[in-house]
Structures are given as structure tokens and as C-alpha cells.
């Protein structure tokens, strides 16, 4: 066990844990950030996606010790922001949410995409979401959600 500090959604937090504990488990269990979901647990589904120092990563594949001192942003960290609200509304209006389990990860991937490319075309959107699995929608409605967010949020990103 070791005391490990990192920045979570803008605030410094300190966690007493084994440095090999998965960041995913630290976020869900120690920090109660349950917007981060566990799907496959092996980096293929993107349900556990968070931002680490500004880039999209799978929190199931990151031991806590590798995240020491990093800035981590979870879905809870963006949902109250203008950008987060824009994505949430766009996904809702597009019907991009069915069971909802993949949605937090999809929204983090959308935030990461729009940050580096605020006018993505369809193939760029599909590439950016390629690490996020959805078993309900068939993806078209999610792509539509990202397109709506990109149009409405052109002054945000």
C-alpha cells in the first residue's frame, strides 16, 4: 500500500492503495466515480475511457502507480461543463443512447475528438469511436450525436 496523489476532475486527491490497482477500480471504488464503467476489462470496449493528461485512455489498463501526478478527467468531470452539456443534449436528441452502458465512454471519446478536431467528418468520427463498443445502436445514431455536438458546439471547442 502506498499513498498516491493525482488530480481528479480538477481537484487533487490522495489514495491509499496498491500501486498496481487498476485506475478503473480506484475511480469507481475509492472515488465513487461510477460514470466510469467496466465492460471488457481488457482495453477493447472503451466503457472505462477517461482523459489522462488531456488524452483518451482506457482506465482498466492503467495501474494507479502509472497515473501518479496525472490529471484524470472522468465523465463526472465534463457533464456539468458547457461542452459536456452540449454532448449530452446532442446524444439525447440523436437517440444515441439505448441501454446507456457505453454512453459515458462514447462521450469521453467525443470530447477527446472534438478537442483536437472540432469539425470531424464521418470517417474521422468513426475512427475516433473505433475503440468504443456499443451493442444496441448500430453506431449510426451515435455518429449522428457527435455530428450534432460538433455543429452546435462549434464555438465551444
Amino acid at each position: 500500500m502506498k499513498e498516491i496523489k493525482f488530480i481528479l476532475n480538477g481537484k487533487e486527491v490522495s489514495v491509499e492503495a496498491d500501486p498496481l490497482k487498476r485506475l478503473l477500480d480506484v475511480l469507481r471504488e475509492d472515488e465513487k466515480m461510477t460514470g466510469v464503467k467496466e465492460g471488457c476489462g481488457e482495453g477493447e470496449c472503451g466503457a472505462c475511457a477517461v482523459l489522462k493528461d488531456g488524452v483518451l485512455v482506457n482506465s482498466c489498463m492503467i495501474p494507479l502507480g502509472a497515473a501518479e501526478g496525472s490529471e484524470i478527467v472522468t465523465p463526472e468531470g465534463i457533464r456539468e461543463t458547457d461542452k459536456g452539456k452540449c454532448i449530452i443534449d446532442a446524444f439525447g436528441d440523436a437517440g444515441a443512447v439505448q441501454c446507456g452502458f457505453c454512453t459515458p465512454g462514447m462521450m469521453m471519446a467525443t470530447e477527446a475528438l472534438l478537442t483536437i478536431n472540432n469539425k470531424p467528418n464521418e470517417s474521422e468520427i468513426r475512427e475516433a469511436l473505433s475503440g468504443n463498443l456499443c451493442r444496441c445502436t448500430g453506431y449510426d445514431l451515435i455518429v449522428k450525436g457527435v455530428q450534432i455536438a460538433s455543429e452546435r458546439g462549434k464555438d465551444l471547442w
Binding site: L56, P63, G131
Partner: protein, 287 residues
């Protein structure tokens, strides 16, 4: 439960590696899956772990010029995304890296980790064999450079000593006008290769001046035959075109894949030779 170390810099990392021989962990995208346990429990590492992904002094990609040769040097903690975004990355390596998994994984995984994992299906490895990459290895009080074909000795096996770390990968930047990297997998994202192929070649005065042909996931390591490549040096495009059936015959003896959960030996061999034929036809039409 195993110990873990978080060195403050490379020097510290080399000392820890020499003293405790821990498993280095950069992005963790292979290791965290290999030692994965139940949800909510610790991964089951079998030996101590040393985090290295945060070591800033190895997070770089730079060009070095020496004796008319320009070399791309990729630091040990540069991620696959860093490699794909670098304007000097050779085309086949860029394509290989972008064929790996998906953005979130590439943001975290390192090129060095992909090499040290030494999977026969490692996509970057197939391209790096064709590019004559050299692995830079350091330990306390010494360093050495090993060509990638000698670095990897078998599936998951390398010549890396228990007190050593890979600190960089060097790629000589050579003229190469006809380039191909093709990966065959079950889907475009997040699929491990059934097989992969890399071809790089250049003509000088209408004759093949350099050529490298490599095949991933069709043997215990990436397959490259320098001997067979030598037979193609000096050919013109039309001479190559006439020789293609013979070249395919030659390669059918060195490509000896196996059946596993991802594909069959028959499929792998057939598709590998088809990709080779397609590349050679393309190459023969250039000169």
C-alpha cells in the same frame, strides 16, 4: 501481491532494474491484459513491476544526421500516437501503428513496449523488420545497439538482459518509393493480426536498389529473408515481372504458419503470398 517501483529518472530506473530485476511497465496495454484478474482485484503479476511510462527523458522523437545517414530516433516512452503523428515516421510504420487497436490504446501504448512484448503478431514489429530498426539498450554503466532481427529471438522472447532497459529505437531513413503495409484481421479496430505484410523498395537508374519484404504472424517471429531479397537487387521492373512466379515459389518455402484461434495455416500462407504478389506487381510497374 508484488512490489512496484516508480523511478524518478532513467538513471534511477537502471539502478532499480539492476538491483531487483522488475518487469518494466510503460503503457501497460499488454501486461495489464496478460495478468488481468477478476474485476475489482489486483492484476496477478508474477514478479515486481517498475513503472517507466512517466520517464520524460525518453518521451521524444528526433532526427539525427551522421555520415550522410539520417536516423529517426524514437525514445523508449514515445507512444504509438506520438509515432503516428510524427511527420518523419516512415509511411509503413505509420500505417502499421495506426492499424493497432484504437485511439485510446495508442495514446497509452509505447512502440518500445510493442517490441519488448515480442509477439509474432506485433504489427509495428513487421514494419520495423523491413525498416532495419536498431534497438538501443542501456544498463548501469553501459549501452549496446542490436538490430531488431537479432533482438527478438522467439514468441515473447528477446535478448534483453534482466538488468537492461530498451531506451530508444533507431530507424535509418532511406529512400523508398514503393511502400506497402497491409494487416489482415477480423475487423478494422481492436483486432489482432491474422497476418501482416510489409514491403519497402527503391529503384536507382531503373533497377531495384533496395528491397525488404516482411511477414507478421506467419511464424514464431516476423519472417524476413535477406537472402531472397538479395536475388531481387539489380532487377529492372520488367525483369522482376517475369520473375514473380519464381519469387512466390521461393517465399512459399519460408512462410510456414500455424493454425491458432485467429486463423489457419492454409489461409495465412495463401493470403501472405497473395499480398506479396500484389506488392511485387505494383513494384514491377514502377521502375
Amino acid at each position: 501481491m508484488v512490489d512496484s517501483y516508480r523511478p524518478k529518472d532513467l538513471k534511477d530506473a537502471l539502478s532499480i532494474r539492476a538491483e531487483y530485476n522488475p518487469q518494466p511497465l510503460a503503457g501497460g496495454t499488454d501486461l495489464m491484459v496478460r495478468y488481468q484478474s477478476w474485476s475489482g482485484t489486483l492484476p496477478l503479476f508474477t514478479k515486481s513491476v517498475m513503472f517507466v511510462g512517466h520517464l520524460k527523458e525518453m518521451k521524444y522523437i528526433k532526427k539525427e544526421a551522421k555520415d550522410k545517414t539520417v536516423t529517426l530516433v524514437i525514445g523508449g516512452t514515445a507512444t504509438l500516437t506520438d509515432v503516428a503523428n510524427n511527420p518523419d515516421t516512415p509511411e509503413v510504420l505509420k500505417k502499421a501503428v495506426l492499424s493497432i487497436a484504437a485511439p485510446a490504446l495508442r495514446n497509452n501504448a509505447t512502440l518500445t513496449g510493442n517490441i519488448c512484448n515480442a509477439s509474432p503478431a506485433g504489427d509495428s514489429i513487421c514494419a520495423l523488420y523491413a525498416l532495419d530498426a536498431v534497438i538501443v539498450i542501456e544498463k548501469n554503466g553501459g549501452s549496446r545497439e542490436v538490430p531488431i532481427m537479432e533482438f527478438i529471438t522467439g514468441p515473447g522472447r528477446t535478448v534483453l538482459g534482466s538488468d537492461e532497459l530498451v531506451t530508444a529505437i533507431k530507424i535509418p531513413l532511406k529512400a523508398s518509393s514503393v511502400n506497402d503495409f497491409t494487416k489482415v484481421g477480423t475487423r478494422r479496430a481492436n483486432a489482432l493480426s491474422k497476418l501482416s505484410f510489409t514491403g519497402v523498395a527503391d529503384y536507382k537508374n531503373g533497377r531495384i536498389d533496395s528491397i525488404a519484404l516482411t511477414f507478421g504472424a506467419v511464424g514464431p517471429t516476423v519472417v524476413r529473408s535477406v537472402e531472397l531479397e538479395k536475388k531481387l537487387i539489380g532487377l529492372s521492373g520488367s525483369e522482376l515481372k517475369a520473375r514473380i512466379p519464381k519469387v512466390i515459389d521461393d517465399y512459399s518455402t519460408v512462410i510456414v504458419p500455424i493454425d491458432d484461434q485467429r486463423s489457419t495455416a492454409v489461409y495465412r500462407k495463401k493470403v501472405a503470398l497473395n499480398l506479396l504478389e500484389k506488392y511485387l506487381k505494383e513494384l514491377s510497374s514502377h521502375e
